[in-house]
Amino acid sequence: MPLCPNGHNQRLGLKCQVCGSPLSYREALSDLKVLPKVKPDFGKTSILTVGYPRLSLSTDYVGEVLSGQIDVRTPTTFQAASIRGGSWLDFYNKYLGELQRWLKIVGFDKASDRIMVVNTKDPVSVLALAALPKLEHTAVLALTADQDSTPIEQNTSYVALSLALKRGLPVVAFSESFEKEMIYFTEDRGFATGPFAMSRLLEPLVGAADDLMDLLERDLKLGVKLHCISAIVAGSKAVYGNAANAFTAQSYNMSVGTKPDEYRTVHCLAFSNGENQGEFEKSFGAYRSRKFKGALNAEFRFRQVSSPLYDVMTIYGLKSEGLLEGLADGYNAIVGSVPELNVDGVR
């Protein structure tokens, strides 16, 4: 700021407001080489889809990483040009530095919470998980290969999942068959399947990202990295009767196939109008006692919504080995033919 020869504090103007002396701006001119700091708002929750169709979510940021005909870089898209006959290792070797750079530029690390929706069968999935900087409050929703997938898909999925778990990222897994069968109906929007159903499932989770991260990170401290989920979206009393039935129905539709001894934790996120809170909490308690007695931790979180319909998501913490074992045959078959495609090929 300009100087008054008598030392009075100044604002703009030609003369001192206190003593009327002419102000000097000679020294102050150097202030102009500095620009006021701007604090850009990167939003609270960022979503990044990887090898998965772009989701339609009303959140601060939805970006995508995919492969396509040509290289494309926009604030929301990182598209790597297809590599003929390319495996995950080719994309990893060619694009790792560039993707790391893009993620920094678009401030993926700047949001408070991050959710990556990763199709782990896609060759870019390994690239994206490897490029991700070490960040807290980041969860991976992973579409995984299953018994119906090809060995090369199982190999890619195995490497991507192993990488995510190795990097300490909490993973919520969805099998390919679960995703294909996912179908939700709401009166206002009709039927939603595939990526639309995934968007519908993610909507409440994104809205409750801080609760979701809290639960997943608490499980991480218990050594539980891998999860599966079951959900009722747009449920109502007319369809399910009481809340207990809603939990029972979920137990028949888990996002990955599991064995009873694999469960380590179980949590519930319920989104409903306030009057149902008590019933959901009580029913979740009964569900846990009946089916998950040995769970290391069980938490119930409730979010009040104005809609007469409710969403209930149950998140199950699992032992990590089970899912990877299911993919091991395909993984090993590929590594037997192409040794470089092993999980240690990723730094």
Binding site: P2, R11, L12, G13, L14, K15, P22, L23, S24, Y25, R26, A28, L29, S30, D31, L32, K33, V34, L35, P36, K37, V38, K39, P40, D41, F42, Y61, R73, T74, P75, T76, R101, K104, I105, V106, G107
Partner: protein, 260 residues
């Protein structure tokens, strides 16, 4: 009365001086005073009588008309910018207004050091405006702005820090040139005019900074501009190219204060 006269403060100019019936400037009423019109420099000055016996003159406002400024005549009143002056008759008003219809007949020779200093200032402020525009965009749309400035990010630092450092470096270099030009010009212009130039450049920089504060009302900046004899609206201050335009508007005042 319409009597040509020389103005002691502006020796190069041909002046016409008109006695006012009344005037209004920036909403304030002046019951008497003088209007000085320098057609060759397209400059207007409003003076009021001050002192106990109203024998001394004080300048109320002085500004240079831009090339396409609108000069209106309504009866005996001439209106231009924020000034409305009522003269003795409509013919006198028409005569005063007509002085602005012709191209300047005589170019006032402007001292080169002032030209150089003003050019350096405009150059610096344009560069700074571009930087401010970038950071304004950064606040509204950070991802697109950073992607657009990716070339500035060449190391492992945070991209935001790298872009700040990049713009600061460019501005520091440009400011160095400006300071050097101001120092050169001061030998010819004298300290008074130089101080005024420093102050005006700083004020324009403050206006640019205010653009980055979304809730700025520009109150302080508008008040400071008035001290330079310039009235401006918030919209004008927010418009692109504002610094360059204001520098042009301040030109005659800067020239008048030069020690040449």
């Amino acid at each position: 009365m319409a009597s040509p006269s020389k103005d002691p403060h502006v020796s190069h100019a041909e002046l016409k001086i008109y006695k006012l019936v009344s005037a209004t400037y920036l909403g304030k009423f002046y019951p008497e005073g003088l209007l000085l019109v320098d057609a060759s420099r397209r400059e207007i000055e409003l003076r009021e009588w001050v002192g106990k016996k109203k024998r001394e003159q004080a300048v109320v406002a002085r500004f240079r008309l831009e090339p396409h400024a609108v000069v209106l005549v309504e009866g005996a009143t001439v209106k231009v910018h924020d000034l409305a002056v009522t003269l003795e008759s409509s013919s006198v008003a028409n005569e005063a207004a007509s002085l602005f219809n012709d191209e300047p007949t005589k170019e006032v020779e402007e001292p080169k050091p002032l030209q150089d200093a003003v050019s350096a200032a405009v150059e610096f402020l344009k560069e700074r405006e571009e930087a401010v525009g970038f950071f304004h965009e950064l606040a509204a749309n950070p991802r697109a702005a950073l992607l657009g400035a990716e070339s500035m990010w060449t190391d492992q630092s945070d991209p935001l820090d790298a872009v700040y450092a990049g713009y600061s470096g460019e501005l520091a270099e440009s400011l160095g040139k400006l300071k050097s030009s101001l120092a050169d010009s001061e030998r010819t212009l004298g300290p008074g005019a130089s101080e005024r130039l420093y102050a005006f450049i700083y004020t324009l920089g403050a206006i640019q900074n205010a653009m980055l504060a979304s809730d700025s009302t520009y109150t302080q900046e508008i008040a400071a501009l008035k001290e330079f004899g310039i009235s401006a609206t918030v919209q004008e201050l927010r418009a692109p190219g504002c610094a360059e335009r204001l520098m042009e508007r301040a030109h005659s005042a800067l020239l008048a204060s030069a020690n040449v």
